[in-house]
């Protein structure tokens, strides 16, 4: 068995020290008298600290304390005193150096009453530890965010869902077509609100994780009020409450979706906690913006609860018994308002009602976002909403023509033949224009137009389209006083003719227009 250096006296101390010189950490050995006996090569090369054999431990500590090379846990003088007092005791501490490296200093007493110090670079180890810690915290936060998200989703999605349930129920029994159509429209909006909500809730999940970046735009508050009205009016009506939105004027600048979350939570609470009376949503100009207020005639909030209502899962005594809500709504409001830097305020009178408000900065009206940026003729074209009966027996042509006219915003009622068209009129369709094919299977288009006009009881503007360009056919149509287009119909020509029939009848040219040569001049 080979002797281990230091355990046998047969080896030269010089060789032992030579071995220690290449150790992967710095070593200092102090005598019982606190003088430096040995500093290995690694120490000298790695740490730029002034050491010389025979120096005092006190001098070494003083240099370390005042060199400003590393971060000390206490004041330098105090640290100096601690180190001197701790000579020849067992200790291990980490120090962060100005270079960014982390040094571990471990000291231990020797049998002769002196002390050995070792200096190891633990930068990589520490960095890995920090990364692990961060990953753990992120994982925990994500987990917490997920649970929060589920709780919030449960809470917020109930509002539009409740509206939807009422609407579906009422819609099933509604006989009146117009009311039904209104309700279907409201259902459409309720589902789009749910969709937006899911998006917003995802954002709230991210909010907890600190990842939400508000998108500040200028917009009209009225657009938001309209959506809130649709979202809540059915629930309010069910409870016999008046819900009034005072039409606001003014452009505000904040994150539209997040403000909607704030206000819808205010209104939802107002509806939930008001039994008699109503809710008014309106706003007031303030020096620094617009204060949006939700005023209710509900039970009010007790003085001692007015701060706490914004806490997570807060529910007032009487609420707990009723199990109404999870107590998340106002907490979401607070977090969103903090994020958007919008002041929120609560004024309340127990038994008489509350006013929840949020103040938003004014925006630039010129930058106010319009409802639609992607415009088309279905939005504001000249034919928007114009009812037309299209009689065409060819399925493919009827389909493509319907698509074209719908693209121009028309309300198209397609019919394959005269009987179909008559049925449409009998069911209440009142067209402002009739477009008929000439060669229908059983009838001529000209006759169909006449029958339809008789059924309507008015000389509704009409036109004929024909694949038969025979002069004789054109003549027959002309003689019936109807304008005609030859297939394939050119969309611009169709457009011009429809425009003239609907808006400028004096320009309608029955028959084919004569070609006009332009007058011209050359330079």
């Amino acid at each position: 068995m080979a002797d281990v250096p230091g355990s046998a006296g047969s080896e030269q101390p010089g060789e032992i020290f030579a071995g220690l010189d290449v150790a992967p950490f710095g070593i200092l050995v102090w005598s019982r008298e606190r003088r430096l006996l040995y500093a290995n090569e690694r120490f000298r090369r790695s740490w730029d600290l002034p050491v010389s054999l025979g120096m005092d431990f006190e001098a070494f500590v003083a240099t370390m304390a005042h060199a400003s090379e590393c971060v000390l846990p206490v004041e330098p003088d105090a640290w100096e005193r601690q180190q001197i007092a701790a000579f020849a005791t067992e200790r291990s501490e980490d120090y962060l150096f100005a270079t960014g490296s982390v040094l571990n200093l471990t000291q231990a007493p020797t049998a002769s009453g002196g002390m050995t110090m070792s200096f190891s670079d633990v930068t990589a180890i520490k960095s890995n530890e920090r990364a692990l810690q961060l990953a753990k915290e992120t994982a925990e936060a994500t987990d917490e965010a997920k649970s929060r998200f589920l709780r919030a989703a449960n809470h917020d999605l109930r509002q539009p869902l409740a509206s939807l349930k009422i609407l579906v129920y009422n819609c099933l029994r509604e006989e009146d077509a117009e009311h039904r159509s209104d309700m279907l429209h409201a259902m459409g909006i309720a589902t789009s609100i749910m969709e937006d909500l899911l998006g917003a809730l995802l954002q709230i999940g991210q909010l907890d994780a600190g990842r939400v970046e508000p998108r500040i735009t200028s917009f009209q508050l009225s657009q938001l009020f309209e959506r809130l009205d649709v979202q809540f009016r059915h629930q309010a009506r069910e409870k016999g409450l008046r819900l009034v939105f005072v039409p606001p004027r003014g452009t505000i600048a904040t994150d539209r979706a997040l403000l909607e979350r704030i206000l819808s939570n205010f209104v939802a609470n107002a509806v939930r906690f008001t039994e008699v009376g109503g809710i008014v949503v309106g706003c007031r100009r303030e020096a620094n913006g617009l204060r949006i207020e939700v005023v209710d005639t509900g039970r009010g909030v007790r003085e001692e609860d007015r701060e706490r209502v914004f806490d997570e899962f807060f529910r007032a005594e009487d609420q707990r018994a009723q199990k109404s809500g999870l107590g998340l709504g106002l907490n979401i409001v607070k977090r969103l308002a903090d994020l958007l830097e919008l002041p929120i305020r609560l004024r309340s009178h127990v038994g008489r009602g509350s006013i929840f408000s949020v103040t938003v900065p004014l925006g630039n009206i010129w930058h106010s976002e319009a409802n639609e940026i992607e415009i088309s003729e279905t939005v504001a074209g000249e034919f928007v909403g114009t009812p037309v009966i299209l009689v065409e027996d060819d399925d493919i042509l009827r389909h493509t023509m319907t698509q074209l006219l719908q693209r121009w915003g028309m309300e198209v009622h397609p019919a394959a033949d005269e009987a179909d068209a008559i049925r449409l009129i009998e069911s209440g369709v009142s067209p402002r224009l009739i477009v008929a094919d000439y060669n229908l299977k059983a009838r001529m288009g000209v006759d169909v137009v006449e029958r339809l006009r008789a059924a309507i009881g008015a000389k509704v503007p009409a036109m004929i389209v024909t694949a038969d360009a025979e002069p004789r056919v054109i003549e027959i149509i002309r003689n019936a006083g109807l304008p005609v287009l030859v297939k394939p119909v050119s969309p611009p020509r169709l457009r011009v003719l429809m425009h003239n029939l609907l808006f400028e009848p004096s320009l309608v040219n029955v028959g084919e227009p004569a070609a006009v040569q332009p007058r011209r001049s050359l330079t």
Binding site: S222, I365, S368, I373, I375, E377, E382, P491, P518
Partner: protein, 424 residues
Amino acid sequence: MTAHNQPVPIGSMVPLTGPSAADGAEFRKGMILAVEELNARGGLFGRPIQPIFADTCRQTAEEVVSAARWLIEKHNVHAIINGYNIGPQNSEYEPIADAGIIYVHSNTLLQHHDTVMSDPARYFGCFMADPADYWYGPGFIKFISWLRDSGQWTPHSNRIAIISGSKPYSIVIANSMAKAAADFGWEVAFGPRIVQTPTHHWRDVIEEVRSTNPAVIANTHFYAVDLAHFQRQFRANPMDCIVYLQYGAMHRTFNDIAQEASDGVIVSSVIGLLRDEMGKRFEARYNARFGEGSTATIGCQSYSNMHHYAVAAAMAGGSGPPGDFEQNRKVAFALKGMIYRSVHGTIRYHPDWQAVVPYPVVTHDPSLGMPHIFYQIQDFRKSLSMIAPEPYNTERFVYPPWMSSRVSAARPVASSNPRGLVGL
């Protein structure tokens, strides 16, 4: 003459006769000035540009389509560049798309979007160098809301009345105005009512409007003479409201007929000469070339369209005659990709619409859109006052003489004019 210095024929469809002949004359002048400037600098790769004008008379579909055919078939034009033609409703796109040449116009029509987007490959060369008529609607609603919210005007109510002419342009503007109103706190108390135009008789509709007591009357018909009659009949027994008249009231003819009755009227244009240094220099050149009676604010449309086209053709390595789809696609690509600051603001084509994007209603960045300019006639003997939007405005709104001033008209407006522009 060798092929490399043969002229490049460029067509221009302008109403040289008929009701829009005054505008047509200016469009022609704008083309001539642009071509002269381009040719003086060497034309297109050394080839002079030759403009060929086709008269579109009353601007009906038949007349404009025939003009396009004549230019393509007889003159082999590489492009058709002009101002506007009201009436063809895009029928002229068909012969142009068949020939595969470039077409740049200022027709201000929403249906351009529909036609181009219905078949982008076919209509690759059709460009509308100004924003669609649609944008007048929301733009106007924002304008009156801005007057209201900035305290320059206190309306007695939120009611507005909308009267429309019977052309698609007027109807689309009236519809889009009505659609935007509620979002900004306005109630459409009357209309949009479509009146058969042309007409000089407005008394009946004015009386109907009176019963709704509106704070704003907007008439989206655009013939200068008809509008002048409207304004005279309105002023005979005015209401306490702002009067907005579409485009035509910018014309000299309007003031000539309406005289003092013009003062106070609001009018706007989605395309108009700016009063900055660029605009003033252009106007000086234009007047020097064609005389003081010329109207640079109309001629600038074809002028800018021609210059923009020439730069695009140069970027593409040259222009293409009818049938050279490949070369003209390159020109179209260059037109689409290039943001061009003209004397009337920025021409930036929307990638799908192939139409110019308006400022501030769509883009909030004045360097990326063509300004929708609001003017007020403050003295019918003088130039129009440009009152919005920033940063192009040079004057401020004043209460029309027929209105009661609930708010002191002298109240300073909280607005800055960073360029320090002054009115012409």
